[in-house]
Amino acid sequence: MPIDILMPALSPTMEEGTLSKWLKNEGDSVTAGEVIAEIETDKATMEVEAVDEGTIGKIVVPAGTENVKVNAVIAVLLQEGESASDIGKSAPAPAPEGDKAEAAAAPSPQRGEGGEQSEPGEGAKASVPAAPKTEAQSDPDIPEGTEMVPTTVREALRDAMAEEMRANEDVFLMGEEVAEYQGAYKISQGLLQEFGPRRVVDTPITEHGFTGVGVGAAMAGLRPIVEFMTFNFAMQAIDQIINSAAKTLYMSGGQMGAPIVFRGANGAAARVGAQHSQCYAAWYSHIPGLKVVMPYTAADAKGLLKAAIRDPNPVVFLENEILYGQTFDVPKLDDFVLPIGKARVHKKGKDVTIVSFGIGMTYAVKAVEELSGLGIDVELIDLRTIRPMDLPTVIESVKKTGRLVTVEEGYPQNSVGTEIATRVQQQAFDYLDAPIITIAGKDVPMPYAANLEKLALPNVGEIVEAVKTVTYKA
């Protein structure tokens, strides 16, 4: 059967073009790949190649014709043993819609089956499936009489890694100074001695590269823990974290993902200036395919890091240098694992809800004490996981208190707090008795000078004032 040669679309946006020149005449034979015509697209002059061998039986659209629609028949190719009299018997052009070539004139990336076109904004809303709701488990019960061991966040993180490495041979730690140096912040102290250099791997200073190596190893089924000396340096590797680790499960249709933990110090430390003082909670929490954890207490650090290492998904685990040395009670249990995606009510209260996470909690805890002295009973929620976010716990609290203040160290625009505020006003508007106040770091690169740095970070006084404002006690 003769083959129709169609006007090709040569860019994602092309709908029509000019057939500027034929390089073959009727009767000429052509081979696959041979250039037969030139067309002018919306971008450039392009060559049309024959997709089959045969003889040009008929030129349907003459040279110089403008506005030739994509998929219109421009010529007919005769195959071996056919003559011009066979023209007209050609197979109907298998246009995307399966019937009229005309209807296919404007290819749309949203093309549906059977000629359906879902135009943007037209009935599109009804056809978008609802996002699935995820339900986080509750914290495990701690048996009565369990010994509570005062532990620094530093030790808790190390213990979590050591326990998981003992339990699973596929778990290994890689990063700068994690082995011989025992960790730039001494988080990996003793791990090299226990697990050896095969599983505690010192990397060169090469964030982009070793992050890609880690993600590749995870795609092959290992369980890497990639330590960043600080998350500021992870910006060099953010492409691998987002484009490779977070998206592969989706892009592969569920075939392979990256079970990997990216962990390290995040946010401001003390007097290290703009390039070393930034919170990435909001950045990573923007990305579907990632989980983002930011613990405050040592118990949460331990239980959540163990969960992160076991999680089959990429987890960004944001620590804080100032918190490393702080001591909290950690239950002495054989296997203390906490659920990712569940907030923790740090203190119950009835007058106002404060939501914070990570180092932000240190300001909030002090503010709660001060406010207690003023007769204001605060419910303090430690979010712990930024993504997936446990909004139900926040909403439940706001329904009780009617007031909400969020606290974090990151920049104010598009912060975690503004995300919480948006969702709370969408889902609990009727319960709010005052506008939500979001407290964040100031909208400036972190200054070095001690006094300016202090001004750039949130402070307890701001929180106290914000709570007074939303409770109308200012």
């Binding site: 990336p109 056809s127 499936p129 190596v213 590749g216 691998q240 569920g254 392979m256």
Partner: protein, 345 residues
Amino acid sequence: MAPRKSAAAASRKKPAEKSGLNGGITDFDKATELEAYREMLLIRRFEEKAGQLYGMGFIGGFCHLYIGQEAVVVGMQMALKDGDQVITGYRDHGHMLATGMEARGVMAELTGRRDGYSHGKGGSMHMFSKEKNFYGGHGIVGAQVSLGTGLAFANKYRGNDNVSVAYFGDGAANQGQVYESFNMAALWKLPVVYIVENNRYAMGTSTARSSAQSNFSLRGNSFGIPGHQVDGMDVRAVYAAAVEAVAHCRSGKGPIILEMLTYRYRGHSMSDPAKYRSKDEVQKMRSEHDPIEQVKARILELKHASEDELKAIDKKVRDVVADSADFAQNNPEPDPSELYTDILL
């Protein structure tokens, strides 16, 4: 459609290897020549069909064709064994077919349909097959080099003797993470074969205009990684080099670089008018160095097969491709509920 035999399976019939690096060529026996012919032709015809479907609006977005470079993946794949991993960039259709992935599944992914390898959620540049150890299909230039090094890390960690083959182009060869990866691979003696597919143009920028050192086989010098230039248009030369390179890695000597001197006939992507090079240049490569024509000429000269027998192979290949195109056009789009699946496990 009968399941296609993978090129890896065909490698068992190989003749004794001769010297491969430094320009050596291994003569193929009849079965191997015919297998190479068939494999390369499948990629060629598949890509032509993909171009055609793109022109008809069935394939959207970006679509980078592999036409001209077929000998590289076919020759490399012949030297691999089960469990060896392959990873590449966005010009990936040929690599997928060479690893034995089904034409139907690849084509249906190109048309964004539910039985595509990624259920229509990946597209031309993002396709994977755990079963065939194909790790993508990556749209970020150079990212696959670090990832491929990580695959090799996993092999070494597990103590198996598998190798990872990381393909990238002359364009990606200028990305920083490539050298970060070289450094770690050499430092830790990781079993990774780095394949620079030098097709002379990074999109529209020739190697002469982009690369201070355009002999890419030398790019591992400062890390002590051996490198060799290979005639990437001659599948025998590719195979010979591949056998040695893979043996080098398997024996624990660390990474190796093979620079494949090759050429893409088509533009960088479908919407590339290719004004940065002359038609004569393209025509010269096609008429004098075409990887498929070279094999075909040898087959006919040595009477491994007659014209008619080759035509029968052509016909079979065309049927596989036509079947894949038919499948890819009629396979339904993904169910809307797929929007929210495979984001997290």
